[in-house]
Amino acid sequence: MTGFNWHAIKAIYLFELARFRRTLMTGLAVPVLTTSLYFIVFGSAIGSRMTQVDGIPYAAFIVPGLIMLSMFTESIFNASFGIYMPKFTGTIYELQSAPVSALETVIAYVGAAATKSMSVGFTIFATAHLFVDVPVAHPLAMLGFMAVIAVSFCLFGFILGIWAQSFEQLQIIPLLVIMPMTFLGGAFYSIAMLPEPWRTITLFNPVVYLISGFRWTFFGQGDVAIHYSLLFVLGMLALCSAVIGWMFRTGYRLKK
């Protein structure tokens, strides 16, 4: 057999989606619930005293950040789990012995995880509309941005899943690195609100550029110029792709 193994991509993709379907209730109920809680706490309780950020009602202002926060963690969690579980249970033997290339493997696993992550993003977006009017200045850019973010973080999660050798290692990066970076990256505030030197320090946090870019697609403005955001997103995409390429070439933690 030569050529691209589409059947394998389809098989893995559907297998992963079936896995998500089994946990559909928690998979979608959790983001809806957390979004609602954030709205109650930040939007109503605190937001009522803040009214506006950069001329945007606070409750609407936090929507892009909320979507990003959930999509980061969902992407990482789903993609890392997807490849970690076969390693853990031993079923990875089948993937290793199948006529499937590295590219096909990545497309299937990352594609499935990104699909899940996008649907979580949409769910939050829809839930937010129950609480507040959210204008979207550039709908196509918003969709594109969501897709690229989902793919980038799923690639990152995939790397994590290959690297991790225990469930603890699987959790450590999303909880101890990504979560704080997101909270400090302006998910719930504009970095213009920070005093110096924190404002300059914050600019070293790559997540700032991602959230700012996504916010730009909603309100036509962000903390940093949109082309910086694009640069960071594409940079992350390229970096993760390169690392995955290296992992498959060397068999790093996939093959002895």
Partner: protein
Amino acid sequence: MASIITISALTKVYASGFAALKGIDLTIEEGEIFALLGPNGAGKTTLISIICGNVNPSGGTVSVAGHDIVTGYRGSRTAIGLVPQELATDSFEKVIDTVRFSRGLFGKRRDDALVEKILRDLSLWDKRDARILELSGGMKRRVMIAKALSHEPRVLFLDEPTAGVDVELRRDMWGLVRQLRDTGVTIILTTHYIEEAEEMADRVGVITRGELLLVEDKATLMKKLGRKTLTIHLSEPLAVLPPALAGRGIVLAGEGWRLEYSFDTHAERTGISTVLRQLGDLGIGYKDLDTRQSSLEDIFVSLVHREEAA
């Protein structure tokens, strides 16, 4: 018969520095059942894992159905079905779904008729909608075989197919393997149960410490290395072995009712007639004689011991 797998100068050194394979050369013929026999840690699983793609080789080449396993991995892997030693299944999947999944993974179009046939042949059809976690260990192993067969491989690898399986299931498994061979599938199995190799294989390879000690037709191997034991059933029990018979490898057994004499079938003089004449001279009567070919197990143990002594 044409060869389907050609292995030459294959080596594997793990990152730890452990040399698991030290230059394996082996050719597998299409349609045969080949048993790879060796103690634990001999390199059986490493060898299989390299051929199937689970472990990267350190040196040497392997080709399967005319495709190099590295440069032509799609071709070689498409030709192979693997049933690994460890039971590894997706617990929450349904039996039929996991078999369909495997077929897709190996690049084949969905074929419900074929999947049904495989499941029926493996007595899994009634369980097709059961989740794998509900199945017994033996059933799970059948599921793994079904997965390995789902893409119609030409070569099937069974790594320790009957490890930890009860006697009845082992018999079933042997029957199944023969049935598969009849359909033209080449089967390579590893085992450390000699009984299994003896029961099923056409050819046997003995591997220990990463080296193939020998590869031989099972029948030839047993003939070549075989020893036979002559058992003499006495009419009257003996209290002790008569001194005249001592020093020839004759032992008294069965509470004095039997004499057992072991001899090399290839020796110029087996010594049987001498033993029987001496019994006549001593006036020891016997009512029956039988000889027994030594098993592969005996052969194997002596081979491995010879290797260790060297």
